[in-house]
């Protein structure tokens, strides 16, 4: 290249300061890292980094507190919405979010999720739905698709004996306590940008005390889906999106 463009005045994109410089422990191509970064960018752009408190789950994102440069704590498996309830009630002026996988939020933590949403607790729930238990080696989650193989559904999920994949977002959207519920993804640049806009909206509603906001991110797990990252994103489009369609589920009236 004739001219050197690499100088500060030409900078158009770099890692947000709301994330630390630690190397993420996630597998190559895992959507957790991208979802973290969009949440962090939303926090930085709204200038609420010093007033935000996050709650990490149990699951692959158990170490999320290493990566967000905001105050964070860790909850027992599935209990993040209960911990968030306590934090937000004691410090209502803070921006509070939970970050949870589908095993954490939709299996062991179903009660906490539903009751926090039903009470209309004023925080953001970020729900990463990759249809599987990633951390523990690929067991079936409530969100695992019909016929999808996992270590505990080796012949594929059988609806008759294992129930239907649980649509948590549609379920909590029925509750009067939720204010904004949407489903996004982080598998293309356009979708990544939309996800950030949804996070920003949710934090803005939180400022106005509107009730619970839940943003689901349909994500991949290349390691346990046993695919390359690029294949996993394609598989997600073809198999996850028909059952978990992207878009707004509940928007302010």
């Amino acid at each position: 290249m004739a001219e050197n463009l690499i100088k500060p005045e030409n900078l158009v994109y770099e890692k947000t300061n709301a994330m630390t410089d630690r190397v993420l422990h996630y597998c190559p191509g895992c959507g957790h890292g991208t979802a973290h970064r969009m949440l962090a960018e939303a926090i930085e752009e709204l200038e609420i980094q010093g007033e935000t408190i996050g709650i990490a789950p149990v699951g692959c994102s158990v170490l999320a507190y290493y990566y967000f440069d905001v105050d964070m704590t860790e909850a027992a498996h599935g209990r993040a919405p209960a911990v968030a309830t306590g934090i937000k009630r004691v410090m209502p002026e803070k921006y509070v979010f939970t970050y949870q996988g589908d095993g954490d939020l939709a299996a062991i933590g179903t009660a906490e999720t539903i009751h926090a949403c039903n009470r209309g607790e004023n925080f953001l729930i970020v729900f990463i739905n990759n249809g599987i238990y990633g951390m523990t080696g690929g067991q079936m989650a409530p969100t695992t698709l019909e016929n999808m193989k996992s270590t505990t559904s080796p012949r594929g999920r059988d609806i008759k004996t294992m129930g239907s994949p649980l649509k948590i977002s549609e379920l909590v959207a029925e509750l009067p306590g939720t204010y904004y519920v949407a489903r996004h993804s982080v598998h293309t640049p356009a979708n990544v940008r939309k996800t950030k806009r949804a996070f920003k909206k949710a934090f803005q509603y939180q400022k106005d005390n509107k009730g619970t906001c839940l943003i689901e991110v349909v994500s991949n797990c290349p390691s346990n889906w046993k695919m390359t990252p690029v294949e996993s994103n394609k598989w997600m489009e073809e198999n996850m999106f028909p059952y978990y369609p992207l878009g707004d589920i509940k928007v302010p009236q």
């Binding site: 290249m1 463009l5 030409n10 900078l11 994109y13 890692k15 190397v23 190559p28 191509g29 890292g33």
Partner: protein, 71 residues
Amino acid sequence: MAKKGDVVIQIEKCKGCEICLASCPQSVLGMSDKVNSKGFKYAVKVNSACTGCANCAVICPDAAITVYREK
């Protein structure tokens, strides 16, 4: 004419997932022959057609890419 851009890829952060390759509208990115200290092949520039659109950096799960664009 489209503006010119350039990217800096942090080799040690890259895990070789290849998601950025598919996201670049200009096909600027390819994979290295060498590996980094963790044993991953990493993304490299294979031509100078970059327009600085930042798609690759936005999609990178590991925030390994920084993007520059002429003013």
